[in-house]
């Protein structure tokens, strides 16, 4: 039995209320045994001072590229899990665009074996189609039996609607979520950023908003027709979001996610061809930033997810069109949301708890981890007054392809508790 720990004087965030509750939290043996205002520590108890800090349920990310197997120069499951812990994330779901793709029970088992050696639970999705080629269905039933919780060809859409229809009808009966990277490949062409005024002046081929919106429309109608649970990944446009809103009102079984970078940045940030602002789908416009943020507040987005996509400096230090898509996000997500929105009064803590802790867990059939008596001790202590500087030394991911590299953000993850154990303490 591990020693009792008392987290003293923190303000507890919950998904029920925007108001924080000042309470002490006593942890013993993996569970929260007492939550009450200002009580005396039991004898022989470790006391962790949380004065002026926020205690919130640990985060969960449904969209992470751990790059294993095959691209371990960028990341592996172990380093990815440590990056997650560094950002206050104590569970995540991996994407199957690995080499080879996670498209069979064998690969699912292999990655889950690696995952089991990490300090936090890690889930995996499997591909919809073999090799993510969009042609033949992958071994969906076998992957589910091996532990896959979602299917997606993420990075690519399933371009052929018949293939996606069959996949939805098939996956539906296994209770698997079908997740869509919405993109019309022909419209995107060789595009490297959002098609607009900036792509025009930089002379880069653009990815028009309609590339995403047309595919999103199609996929959501297929979900409506087949009754499958569709999860739309990384929505970036106001129009796409409004389509989801409309179909949700019609009762379609659709969920969706938004990435912090699509709330914070837009195409103007690409600046002088900075490849740390290159991702797919791309950064859109200032108006989209505002609309997506409002959508998050309104509840159109079920979850926040980072699309953590590590790449090496060698790959990213390239001309904009040739550099790969993607930026890392696990370590910067919460500090960036705090810096840009919470500390500015634009988002409240209950929304972060709901959208980046509780709902992502529920989406994958897990229980939420509120900071309440009798609950699992799975929470983080966030210091809103101290900056985090994202230096190479600070970052636990193998890769540093983030716009926040060597930048300071207001707020710091000070303590991460999982199953009663302190995984990180600063």
């Amino acid at each position: 039995m591990s020693k009792q720990k008392l987290f003293k004087g923190g303000d507890i965030a919950s998904e029920e209320s925007a108001k924080l509750q000042r309470c002490d939290v006593l942890v013993e043996g993996g569970r929260i045994t007492r939550v009450a205002p200002n009580f005396t520590a039991p004898p022989d108890c470790q006391v962790i001072d949380c004065t002026g800090k926020i205690i919130l349920p640990a985060l969960f990310d449904v969209h992470v590229h751990a790059r294993e197997p095959g691209q371990e120069q960028k990341e592996n499951i172990r380093t990815c899990s440590e990056a997650a812990i560094n950002g206050g994330v104590t569970g995540f779901c991996m994407m199957p665009n690995t080499l080879p793709a996670i498209d069979s029970a064998g690969v699912v088992k292999t990655v889950l074996e690696s995952a089991a050696k990490c300090r936090i639970p890690i889930y995996t999705s499997g591909a919809i189609t073999k090799g993510r080629e969009g042609k033949e269905l992958a071994a969906i039933g076998a992957m589910k039996a091996a532990g896959a919780v979602m299917i997606t060809d993420d990075g690519f859409p399933v371009s052929n609607p018949v293939v996606l229809r069959r996949a939805m009808e098939y996956a539906r009966d296994f209770g698997l979520i079908v997740a869509s990277h919405c993109e019309t490949m022909e419209l995107s062409g060789k595009g490297a950023m959002h098609e607009g005024t900036v792509s025009y002046s930089l002379g880069l081929e653009g990815i028009p908003a309609i590339s995403e919106e047309i595919c999103l429309d199609r996929d959501i109608r297929l979900a409506q027709y087949t009754g499958a649970h569709l999860h739309i990944q990384h929505v970036t446009t106001a129009r796409g979001m409004n389509t989801i809103r409309r179909f949700k009102e019609e009762g379609v079984n659709v969920t969706c996610e938004v990435a912090p970078h699509h709330l914070i940045f837009n195409h103007e940030d690409v600046g002088d061809y900075d490849t740390n602002y290159k991702m797919n789908p791309p950064l859109r416009t200032k108006e989209d930033n505002a609309a997506l943020l409002q959508g998050l507040i309104d509840g159109v987005f079920d979850v926040i997810a980072t699309d953590h996509a590590p790449h090496t400096p060698f790959e990213k230090n390239n001309d904009f069109a040739s550099a790969p898509f993607g930026i890392t996000g696990l370590e910067t997500a919460l500090p960036s949301l705090h810096h840009y929105f919470i500390s500015e009064g634009k988002l409240s803590w209950d929304l972060i708890v709901r959208r980046y802790s509780a709902e992502p867990r529920r989406l994958l059939g897990q229980r939420a981890v509120p900071v309440t008596e009798g609950g699992t001790a799975e929470f983080i202590v966030f210091n809103p007054k101290t900056d985090t500087v994202f230096t190479r030394d600070f970052i636990k991911s193998k890769s540093v392809n983030t716009p926040f590299l060597d930048q300071a953000l207001r707020g710091r993850v000070d303590v991460v508790v999982h199953a009663g154990e302190v995984l990180l303490q600063r």
């Binding site: 930089l202 028009p208 001309d319 040739s322």
Partner: protein, 313 residues
């Protein structure tokens, strides 16, 4: 004026720098009439041309400009078939760094490559055309030419760009510089070759009648490319020529209105223009070529390579 290392685009130039480059091109051009066309300005300096896209005229224009300034000119041969990726560009740059050249003149099919190179070398980088992004020396020579034709002040003049606007770095750079000079600019092309998000102050036309009504002083013809990624932008070269090209019939009307004609070269006869344009007395194509050398001399004279500062300090 703060010393500047690189010329990458038109946006980053200050009015003072623009004026410096355009003003100093005049005495350089006057040199061409002398029997000895060379000045010792860049003696002992090395100018390296690095062209990933074939271009005889721009490359030789830079070579002539550099040698008239007494610089040593090195032509770095790039095997374009094997060097297509940005990472190879950076490998090449470390090689160039070791060679300690003072100026690198770059042309590349990918937008932003000169910016990438400039960040990774102490040499002055001159963008000689990158992707659809920018071709600043072309813009400078175009405006220099217009100033010769119309006198110093270009404000209020009207220039229309005709052709593949979408994939043209010339359309971007020259258009921008013309607007900075106070000119009104317009575009005429098939809808599929006009970008959706161009600056609002640029007029967009769909046919020649609208263009005539706008009363342009200059028309600037651009090369057209029919397809990319196997999707044609227009039905055929013949149809393009008939609807958008400078046909003999249209040339007559252009002549009657005294409109000047420009083109960045090389021309596509039978596509954007006809043979007869080349002998039209207000066709500025050859003047553009001659001015290119003077303007590029002026640019080389203006830039301050990082290598030079090193020696100085």
């Amino acid at each position: 004026m703060t010393p500047r290392k690189d010329l990458l685009d038109i946006q980053s130039l200050t009015d003072e720098e623009l004026d410096f480059i355009l003003t100093n091109a005049v005495p350089f051009k006057n040199l061409f009439k002398r029997s000895v066309k060379k000045v010792p300005t860049l003696r002992g300096r090395t100018v390296l041309t690095l062209f990933y896209e074939p271009s005889t005229r721009t490359r030789s224009s830079f070579e002539v400009a550099a040698s008239r300034l007494s610089a040593d000119v090195i032509n770095f041969s790039v095997n374009t078939s094997s060097v297509v990726k940005g990472e190879s560009v950076l490998d090449t740059i470390s090689t160039l760094e070791a060679m300690r050249t003072d100026y690198v003149v770059v042309r590349h099919g990918m937008s932003g490559i000169p910016n990438l190179i400039a960040r990774n070398t102490t040499a002055s980088v001159i963008n000689a055309g990158d992707g659809f992004h920018a071709h600043p020396t072309q813009a400078l020579l175009d405006v220099f030419t217009l100033k010769e034709v119309f006198g110093g002040d270009l404000s209020g003049l009207r220039i229309a760009f005709i052709g593949d606007i979408q994939h043209s770095r010339v359309a971007r750079s020259t258009n921008l510089l013309c607007r900075r000079m106070g000119m009104s600019t317009a575009m005429l092309a098939p809808g599929s070759l006009i970008p959706r998000d161009t600056p609002a102050e640029i007029a967009k036309f769909t046919n020649w009648e609208e263009l005539y009504a706008w009363k342009p002083d200059v028309i600037y013809l651009l090369r057209v490319q029919m397809e990319r990624q196997n999707v044609p932008f227009f039905p055929s070269i013949g149809e393009y020529h008939r609807i958008y090209g400078l046909t003999d019939e249209r040339l007559k009307r252009v002549q009657d209105s005294g409109i000047y004609v420009m083109h960045p070269g090389p021309v596509n006869r039978g596509v954007e223009l006809n043979d007869s344009v080349m002998t039209y007395e207000r066709c500025l194509i050859n003047q553009q070529v001659e001015n290119g050398i003077a303007v590029r001399m002026s640019v080389l004279y203006w830039l301050k390579p990082g290598s030079v500062e090193e020696v100085g300090s």
